[in-house]
């Protein structure tokens, strides 16, 4: 084993049932589950949902052509349900992975939080619970709808999601208070609780992560500056053409619906590429701090780092290539990229679990 059960400060910072341990396990778990959910969604729901929406739009055009207002309204009810189905699943994926990132961040920030250990542990537990129930609530919005709800537009699933979000905000407020208290202290705890080693894994994850974020920022700036407004204009124009074609029944509605679908796909892949490359960069940087707690051989630690960084690049690049003639093949490769990240995460989580087990048994024996 190249990873030693390190220094006393490292051990202290990762003590059994400590806030940091809870946040590291909870954070990596939330990210892995959130990404796995995203992969399943991309393979089994996303394209099918887009196809159904396109068909519904075509039916709406036909209904408009034949002057059937009632049918138009019924079809739009269906379109609304399809969009809600898609939107809530995307949001569940995003919020679960982001809650995981925040949990890892809080794990890093624990040495700067001047609160009693029991309170820190309670806050950590509440944050992980909030991070779990927020996406679960969002996911259920589409299925529970307004059943038994006393509110006009907000259902019980939304109440669950919003309450979980409020809980996370509350935890952040207390954590900030703890940091302010730390800053006010004259005698501060030792900051060396942050492992300061400079291993290959750490350097690769930190530099690679920052570079991925930088590339994501550049792409995002290009998208916002060049594409966003043009796409918004195109969407309105396509819809108008679609309506004109439906009114005159000249038979070109199919082309306009296809144009609309192509535009929606173009927007989706460009935004997905931008957000995923940045999120993976952030994840890589966060995981660089977890490396001292990954109890695996140096070779396996490097393997997981390479798998993670490769997957982080493969997913956004091949998501973009879905617009090329490669089409669904590129989509499949992108999903494999996502899976690589998930597998690397699980590999690292196993390493952290092994570290905890070794450390706990050493403490027990001592």
């Amino acid at each position: 084993m190249s990873t030693l059960l390190a220094t006393s400060s490292l051990t202290e910072a990762f003590a059994p049932m400590s806030a940091r341990r809870l946040l590291v396990f909870g954070g990596i778990g939330l990210i892995a589950v959130g990404m796995l959910f995203g992969d399943i969604f991309a393979v089994f729901v996303l394209h099918q949902n887009g196809g159904q929406t396109g068909k519904a739009l075509l039916l709406a055009c036909d209904a408009a052509s034949s002057g059937n207002v009632l049918a138009v309204k019924e079809i739009f009810q269906k379109v609304g349900e399809l969009l809600e189905d898609r939107g809530t699943k995307v949001d569940a994926h995003v919020h679960m992975t982001d809650a995981g990132y925040l949990a890892l961040l809080l794990a890093l920030a624990q040495p700067f939080v001047a609160l009693p250990p029991r309170r820190k542990k309670l806050l950590a537990g509440l944050f992980v619970i909030g991070g779990l129930f927020l996406p679960v609530g969002i996911f259920l919005i589409h299925y529970i709808e307004l059943a038994y709800s006393p509110f006009a537009v907000i259902g019980w699933a939304s109440v669950l999601a919003d309450s979980a979000g409020a809980l996370m905000i509350l935890v952040l407020v207390f954590e900030s208070y703890g940091i302010v208290r730390y800053l006010q202290q004259k005698k501060r705890s030792d900051e060396s609780k942050f492992p300061t080693d400079r291993t290959w894994e750490r350097r690769a994850l930190m530099t690679g992560g920052a570079f991925l974020i930088f590339v994501g920022f550049l792409y995002g700036a290009w998208y916002a500056g060049i594409d966003l407004y043009r796409q918004e204009g195109r969407e309105a124009q396509i819809l108008k053409n679609m309506l004109d074609a439906a009114s005159t029944a000249d038979g070109s509605t199919t082309i306009e619906v296809a144009n609309y679908g192509a535009l929606a796909a173009e927007k989706a892949v460009k935004i997905a590429a931008h957000s995923h490359v940045i999120e993976f960069g952030l994840l890589a940087m966060l995981l660089s701090f977890v490396q001292p707690y990954v109890y695996l051989s140096a070779r396996w630690k490097r393997r997981w780092v390479v798998v993670l960084l490769t997957g982080s690049l493969v997913l956004p690049v091949f998501v973009l290539l879905e617009l090329s003639p490669l089409g669904l093949v590129a989509g499949g490769i992108a999903d494999m990229g996502g899976l690589m990240v998930v597998i690397a995460l699980i590999g690292m989580l196993v390493g952290v679990l092994r570290y905890s087990g070794q450390m706990d048994s050493a403490v027990g024996a001592g």
């Binding site: 055009c61 209904a63 408009a64 034949s66 002057g67 059937n68 207002v69 138009v72 309204k73 739009f76 609304g80 969009l83 809600e84 995003v94 982001d98 961040l105 890093l108 920030a109 700067f112 537009v153 907000i154 939304s158 999601a161 919003d162 979000g165 409020a166 952040l172 407020v173 954590e175 900030s176 940091i179 800053l183 501060r188 942050f194 080693d197 400079r198 930190m206 530099t207 920052a210 570079f211 974020i213 930088f214 920022f217 550049l218 995002g220 700036a221 916002a224 500056g225 918004e232 969407e235 309105a236 819809l239 309506l243 439906a246 009114s247 957000s275 940045i278 952030l282 940087m285 701090f289």
Partner: protein, 162 residues
């Protein structure tokens, strides 16, 4: 704790809180109504087309586009603020690995923090008034500042020698 690290950690936490509060407020009081309005105007455009009223159908599409313009940006503000907050906190923790002089590091930290506040603020202002160039200028300036500062950070990480 160095001033740069303090700035990044506290700024990041403040930004995360701001982004979450904005998201909670938006989810509770704005999002459902906005989505209803978007769906409603789109449906209205097709109903108008079915009733052979093209001018009204086009007007409904314009109303849909206008609502969606605001919706996209309002959701972006929430996600970008929290995303940038997370970046600031991570960089705050990793700041020892940015191999520059203290002065340079403080300058980069100020640029990161300022850009992270200004970029989403510019996007918010775009939803308040669509035709103001100040909002777009602020968003562009903010995003450019963060991007350039991040390029410096990548270089700083690369320069770091153990």
């Amino acid at each position: 704790m160095s001033p740069a690290r303090k700035m990044l950690l506290l700024g990041g936490l403040t930004l995360a809180l701001l982004g979450m509060l904005y998201g909670l407020h938006y989810a509770l009081f704005v999002e459902h109504q906005t989505l209803d309005r978007m769906g409603g105007t789109l449906e209205e455009s097709f109903v108008n087309a079915a009733e052979r009223r093209p001018a009204e159908a086009h007007a409904a599409v314009d109303a849909y586009a206008s609502t969606k313009y605001a919706y996209v940006r309002q959701v972006d503000i929430h996600s970008h603020w929290i995303g940038l907050a997370m970046l600031l906190i991570v960089l705050g923790v990793a700041w020892d690995y940015v191999a520059f002089s203290d002065r340079m590091r403080t300058g980069v930290a100020i640029a990161l923090l300022a850009g992270s506040f200004l970029f989403p603020l510019g996007v918010i202002l775009q939803t308040v008034s669509r035709n103001t160039s100040l909002a777009s200028a602020l968003a562009i300036f903010g995003s450019a500042t963060v991007t350039i500062a991040l390029a410096a950070v990548v270089w700083g990480f690369w320069r770091f020698a153990p």
